[in-house]
C-alpha cells in the first residue's frame, strides 16, 4: 500500500513519518513512535483508553487515522510529566487519591482530565463525572478518579482539598 508523508509535533518534538493511509493514530503512536502509553481497550471509540490530546482537543486515537494528525500538535501521556521529571499535578493527584488500579485506562483518563481542566478550570463533581464519561475504568468505580481530579483542581487553584474520611 502506498504511504503518505506526515509531519506533526508529538510532546514538543517534531516528527516526520511515512504511514499507510489506513494506519490508525494509536498504532502509529504505539508501534512507530514507541509511545505505548495510549492503550487499546475496545477498538470502537467507547472506552477512551487511547485518548490523546490533539490540537487542544481530547481525541480517541483508535478512531483517528494517523494521516489526520498531519500538522497536528499531539500530547500523549509520555509528555505530561513536569520538565524536571516529577509527576504533574494530575498524575500526582491520581497517585495520592488512589485513582487507578490496573493502570490501563489511566493514561487516557489523565489526558482527558488534563483537557477538561483547560476547558473548565473549576469543575463541579457533576461536571467532572460528565467530563470523563467517554473514558471507562473497570477497576476504581470512579470515586477516587473524581477525587484525583479534584485534588489537582485544588492544587492548581490554591484552594483547600480535604480527603473525605471513610
Amino acid at each position: 500500500m502506498s504511504k503518505s508523508h506526515i509531519e506533526l509535533t508529538i510532546n514538543g518534538n517534531k516528527v516526520e513519518a511515512l504511514v499507510e493511509p489506513r494506519t490508525l493514530l494509536v498504532h502509529f503512536l504505539r508501534e512507530q513512535q514507541n509511545l505505548t502509553g495510549a492503550h487499546i481497550g475496545c477498538d470502537t471509540g467507547h472506552c477512551g483508553a487511547c485518548t490523546v490530546d490533539m490540537d487542544d482537543m481530547s481525541v480517541k486515537s483508535c478512531m483517528t487515522f494517523a494521516v489526520q494528525a498531519n500538522g497536528a500538535n499531539i500530547t500523549t501521556i509520555e509528555g505530561v510529566a513536569n520538565a524536571d521529571g516529577t509527576l504533574s499535578v494530575l498524575q500526582e493527584g491520581f497517585r495520592m487519591m488512589h485513582g487507578l488500579q490496573c493502570g490501563f485506562c489511566t493514561p487516557g483518563m489523565i489526558l482527558r482530565a488534563h483537557r477538561l481542566l483547560q476547558e473548565n478550570p473549576a469543575p463541579t463533581e457533576d461536571e467532572i463525572r460528565h467530563g470523563i464519561s467517554g473514558n471507562l475504568c473497570r477497576c476504581t468505580g470512579y470515586v477516587n478518579i473524581v477525587k484525583s481530579i479534584q485534588y489537582a483542581v485544588a492544587k492548581i487553584n490554591g484552594t483547600p482539598f480535604q480527603e473525605a474520611a471513610e
Binding site: G37, I128, L136, T140, E166
Partner: protein, 809 residues
C-alpha cells in the same frame, strides 16, 4: 517528656517509617502507570515479530465442509495460515481445559459456537493479518443449534459434542445425555426432602444469574518466541496464573517445563477472564515454534466478549423451608449450569460447580441439599469466576434473594429475618450443612453497625409513606431498599480438596535480604491491578522491620518467582500473603540468632522492637535489621550459613470467609424504568486490614462491577445462537455518570488460621453487591405483587415490569 513517652514516640516514629501493615501506603505501581510506563503485553515489540489473527465461525453450530486458505496465503505479507489439519499431526487441535474436558484450538469438523476459532492467519502486521482472515474460504453446513440450556437434554436434542458422544462418563462422573457434562450433588437429600414435606412455610423460585463477561479493559493477548537453537520458548501473556500456564504449555507442547519461560507483565485487569488457557495462546506458540520467529496475538473487544470465558449462566431453582416465626430449617437448590460448547470452567479440579455449596450463606441452616447439572449449549465456553471466588456470586445471589422472598411470604422484615437466622459469633468455627467450616465471623455486630449507620428504621418508614403516596397517585416513583448480608469463601485452598490439574493450590513467597538491608521478594501470584507491589511489601515491612520503600516485589516471571497458583478467587492475601508472613518469620528467626551472636547474649534474652532486636532490660543494646543483614553476609555466627533469605510454600489449613452487610436505597421511575441508586453503603469484614486505601479501592471497583451485572450487563444470544452485543456499544460498562457514590465501612474479625489474620477483599463487593442491587429493585416493586424480577434490571426491562403490572395507565 518522660522516658516512657520518649520511648513510645521513638517507636511510633520508627513504625511509621516502615509503612507497614495498616497504613494507607501510596502505591508503588502508580509512578509508572501514571506516566504511561506500564509494560503490557501489546507493548512488547520483538525483532521480526509477526502478528496472528483468527478466522471465526459465523455460525453457532455447523459442519465444516471445507477450508480453502489459498487466497489468504497469496496475499503479500501473509506468512502462514494454520487450520486444524496443521495442528492435528502435532496433537494440538484440541487442548485440555481446567475442568477436565477438551476444547478445540481450531475447529476440526464442526463449529460449536459463533466466533469459534477456525483458522489462524500469521502475517507481517496486524492489518494484513486482518485482511487475510477475510480471504480464508470456509464452507459450512448449518446445523440446528441449542441456545436454551433447558433444551440441551431433550431426547431429540442435536448432539453437540460428537468428539465425546460415546463417552458416557466425564471428568466428574456419569453423563445422562450426550449434551450433559456432569451432575454434582452435596448434602442430605432425604433429610432435606423430609423437612420440606413438613415445613410450615416454603418458598421456591427460579433465580437466574445471567450470562455476562468479566471484560477487563485490556483484552487477552500473548507473544510467543521460540528459540529453535536452544529449544526454548518464551511466552508473554495476560496470565492471572503464569505458573499454571507454564505447566499447561509443557503438557500440551511436550516441551520440558524448564525450557518454557512464561512471563506475565503488567496486566490491565483480569477479573477471572485471564485464568484460563485460550486458543490464541496456543496458536501464537505453535506459530512461533513452526516459524521460529515471535508471534503476537491480541484479541479485539468483540473477540473478548464473545469467545474468551463468559461468567455465570446459572439457572437456580431455589427453595427454603421455615417455621411460621421465620426460623429457616432447610434449603434445597437445583442448578442448571450452561457451560457452553466446552467445559472450560476455571474451578479447582474436584469442584465442577465451584464452591456453589456456600449457598447456605450467613445463616444457620441445619439441613440442605444442592444438585448441579452442567450442560453443553452452542455458546462460548467458560464459566469463570468474574470477580468472585468460584461460583460464589451465584451462591450468594441464590440465598440473598431467597431470604427476601421468604421474608415477603412471612410478612417479616427482611433484615429481621436475616438477624434471626444468622450464625452466632459463638458458633464459629461453624460447620455448614453443605460441608464448609467457616473460620470466623461476627454477623450480628456487623449488621447492627450497618443498620444504625444507614438509618434502616427511618428508611423503612420513608418507604411506607412513599408507597402510600404512590398508591394515592401522588408520585410515580418507587423506593426500594436492598439488603445483602453475604459470606464469601476465598483463599483456595487446602490441598485435601483443592488442586488444579493435580497441583495443590498452595502459594508461595521468596524473600531475599541483600547485604545493605534492602529486599527483593517474589511471589507465585500475579497482580492485575490489586497493588501487590505495595501491599506484600507492607506485610514484610511489619514482619521484619525494613521500610516498605526498601522492598521490591516482583511477580509474573516464572523463571524467578517460586511456583504458585496465581491470583483469582481472592486468594493472594489469604494464601500468598500468608506465605509472605511465614517466609518473613523464617528470616526473623535467623536474624535473631545473628543478633544474639553480635550482642553476645542468648537468643532468649532478645526481644523484637519494630525494626530491631534488643536485649531485654537494656534497650540501648540492640541491632537493627539493617545491621543484622550486613552481618549475615559479613560475619555470620560460626556454623551458620551466610545469607539471609527464605522461601515458603504455604498450604492453607482452611479457606477464609470474609463477610459484609450491604444496603442500597434506590428510586425507580415506573414510567421510564430508570433506576437511580440514592445510596449504597458497604460494610466489609475482611479480617486484618493491610492497606485501608487499597481495600477501599477494591470495594469501590467491585461494587461498580456488581452494579453493572445487576443493572444491565449481559451476554445474550438470539435463537440462532448469534451473540447479541459483543461490543461496548451494547455491553453495559458504567461510566462515571451512571456509577453511584459508594460509602464504605468495616468491622474487623481476623481469620484465626491465617498468620496475620487477613481474609481477602477484592471480590466481596461484587459478590455482595449483585444481590443487593437486585434486592433493591425487587423490594421497590414487591408491594405491587411483582414476584421475583430477573436480572439484569435495565430500564427497558423495568419498564416492562411496569407494563406487566399495569402501572402505565
Amino acid at each position: 517528656m518522660n522516658d516512657q513517652t520518649k520511648i513510645d514516640a521513638d517507636r511510633a516514629e520508627r513504625t511509621e517509617k516502615l509503612q507497614g501493615m495498616g497504613c494507607k501506603r501510596k502505591r508503588v505501581e502508580d509512578v509508572r502507570f501514571t506516566q504511561g510506563k506500564g509494560s503490557y503485553v501489546d507493548d512488547l515489540k520483538l525483532p521480526g515479530m509477526l502478528f496472528g489473527d483468527f478466522v471465526r465461525s459465523p455460525h453457532a453450530h455447523a459442519r465444516i465442509k471445507s477450508i480453502d486458505t489459498s487466497r489468504a496465503k497469496a496475499l503479500p505479507g501473509v506468512i502462514a495460515v494454520l487450520t486444524a489439519a496443521d495442528l492435528k499431526p502435532l496433537g494440538l487441535h484440541y487442548m485440555p481445559t481446567l475442568a477436565g474436558d477438551v476444547q478445540a484450538v481450531l475447529a476440526e469438523e464442526k463449529v460449536l459456537f459463533q466466533n469459534q476459532e477456525v483458522a489462524f492467519v500469521i502475517a507481517k502486521d496486524r492489518y494484513i493479518a486482518s485482511d487475510a482472515t477475510e480471504l480464508v474460504d470456509v464452507e459450512y453446513e448449518a446445523l440446528p443449534c441449542i441456545v436454551d440450556p433447558f433444551k440441551s437434554m431433550l431426547p431429540d436434542a442435536p448432539i453437540l459434542r460428537e468428539d465425546i458422544q460415546d463417552k458416557m462418563t466425564g471428568a466428574h462422573g456419569p453423563r445422562k445425555h450426550p449434551n450433559h457434562i456432569f451432575e454434582w450433588m452435596i448434602g442430605d437429600k432425604e433429610a432435606t426432602d423430609a423437612v420440606f414435606a413438613n415445613a410450615d412455610v416454603t418458598i421456591k423460585e427460579m433465580l437466574v444469574d445471567h450470562r455476562t463477561h468479566p471484560s477487563p479493559l485490556e483484552t487477552c493477548q500473548s507473544v510467543a518466541s521460540f528459540d529453535k537453537v536452544k529449544g526454548e520458548l518464551t511466552l508473554w501473556g495476560t496470565f492471572q496464573a503464569p505458573h499454571v500456564i507454564r505447566t499447561v504449555v509443557s503438557l500440551i507442547s511436550g516441551l520440558p517445563e524448564h525450557k518454557i519461560h512464561v512471563i506475565a507483565p503488567d496486566i490491565g485487569g483480569g477479573f477471572g477472564n485471564k485464568v484460563g488457557a485460550y486458543a490464541g495462546y496456543v496458536c501464537s506458540v505453535v506459530g512461533s515454534i513452526v516459524l521460529g520467529v515471535p508471534v503476537k496475538w491480541v484479541e479485539d473487544r468483540m473477540e473478548n466478549l464473545s469467545t474468551t470465558s463468559f461468567a455465570r449462566d446459572y439457572h437456580m431453582t431455589t427453595e427454603l423451608a421455615a417455621t411460621k416465626d421465620g426460623k429457616i430449617q432447610a434449603m434445597r437448590v437445583h442448578v442448571l449450569a450452561d457451560h457452553g460448547a466446552f467445559d472450560a470452567c476455571a474451578d479447582p479440579s474436584k469442584w465442577p460447580a465451584g464452591f456453589m455449596n456456600i449457598c447456605t450463606g450467613s445463616y444457620d441452616i441445619p439441613t440442605a441439599h444442592l444438585a448441579v447439572d452442567g450442560v453443553y449449549t452452542n455458546k462460548a465456553s467458560g464459566g469463570v469466576a468474574y470477580r468472585c471466588s468460584f461460583r460464589v456470586t451465584e451462591a450468594v445471589f441464590a440465598i440473598e434473594r431467597a431470604v427476601e422472598l421468604l421474608a415477603q411470604k412471612l410478612g417479616m422484615d427482611a433484615a429481621e429475618l436475616r438477624i434471626k437466622n444468622f450464625i452466632k459469633a459463638e458458633q464459629f468455627p461453624y460447620q455448614s450443612a453443605l460441608g464448609w467450616e467457616y473460620d470466623s465471623g461476627d454477623y450480628h455486630t456487623a449488621m447492627k453497625k450497618a443498620m444504625d449507620t444507614i438509618g434502616y428504621k427511618e428508611l423503612r418508614e420513608e418507604q411506607a409513606k412513599k408507597r402510600e403516596a404512590f398508591t394515592r397517585g401522588e408520585t410515580r416513583e418507587l423506593m426500594g431498599i436492598g439488603i445483602s448480608f453475604f459470606t464469601e469463601i476465598v483463599g483456595a485452598g487446602p490441598a485435601k480438596n483443592c488442586d488444579i490439574l493435580g497441583i495443590a493450590m498452595f502459594d508461595s513467597a521468596e524473600i531475599r535480604i541483600h547485604p545493605t538491608g534492602s529486599v527483593i521478594a517474589r511471589m507465585g501470584t500475579k497482580s492485575q491491578g490489586q497493588g501487590h507491589e505495595t501491599t506484600y511489601a507492607q506485610i514484610i515491612a511489619t514482619e521484619i522491620g525494613i521500610p516498605a520503600d526498601d522492598i521490591m516485589i516482583e511477580e509474573g516471571n516464572t523463571d524467578t518467582a517460586p511456583y504458585g497458583l496465581g491470583t483469582y478467587g481472592s486468594r493472594s492475601t489469604p494464601v500468598a500473603g500468608a506465605a509472605t508472613a511465614v517466609a518473613a518469620r523464617k528470616i526473623k528467626a535467623k536474624a535473631q540468632m545473628i543478633a544474639a551472636h553480635m550482642l553476645e547474649v542468648h537468643e532468649g534474652d532478645l526481644e523484637w522492637d519494630v525494626d530491631r532486636f534488643r536485649v531485654k532490660g537494656l534497650p540501648e543494646k540492640c541491632k537493627t535489621m539493617k545491621e543484622i543483614a550486613w552481618a549475615a553476609y559479613n560475619s555470620p555466627p560460626p556454623n551458620m550459613e551466610p545469607g539471609l533469605e527464605a522461601v515458603n510454600y504455604y498450604e492453607p489449613p482452611n479457606m477464609t470467609y470474609p463477610f459484609g452487610a450491604y444496603f442500597c436505597v434506590m428510586d425507580i421511575d415506573v414510567d421510564t424504568g430508570v433506576a437511580k441508586t440514592r445510596r449504597f453503603y458497604a460494610l466489609d469484614d475482611c479480617g486484618t486490614r493491610i492497606n485501608p486505601m487499597i481495600i477501599e479501592g477494591q470495594v469501590h471497583g467491585g461494587l461498580t462491577e456488581a452494579f453493572a451485572c445487576a443493572m444491565g450487563q449481559e451476554i445474550r444470544y438470539d435463537e440462532q445462537g448469534n451473540v447479541m452485543g459483543a461490543s461496548f456499544m451494547d455491553f453495559f460498562l458504567p461510566t462515571a455518570v451512571e456509577t453511584p457514590h459508594w460509602e464504605t465501612d468495616h468491622t474487623v474479625t481476623p481469620s484465626p488460621h491465617h498468620p496475620i489474620g487477613a481474609k481477602g477483599v477484592g471480590e466481596s463487593p461484587h459478590v455482595g453487591g449483585v444481590p443487593c442491587f437486585s434486592n433493591a429493585v425487587n423490594d421497590a416493586y414487591a408491594f405491587l405483587g411483582a414476584g421475583h424480577i430477573q436480572m439484569p434490571h435495565d430500564a427497558w426491562r423495568l419498564w416492562k415490569v411496569g407494563e406487566k403490572l399495569n402501572l402505565h395507565k
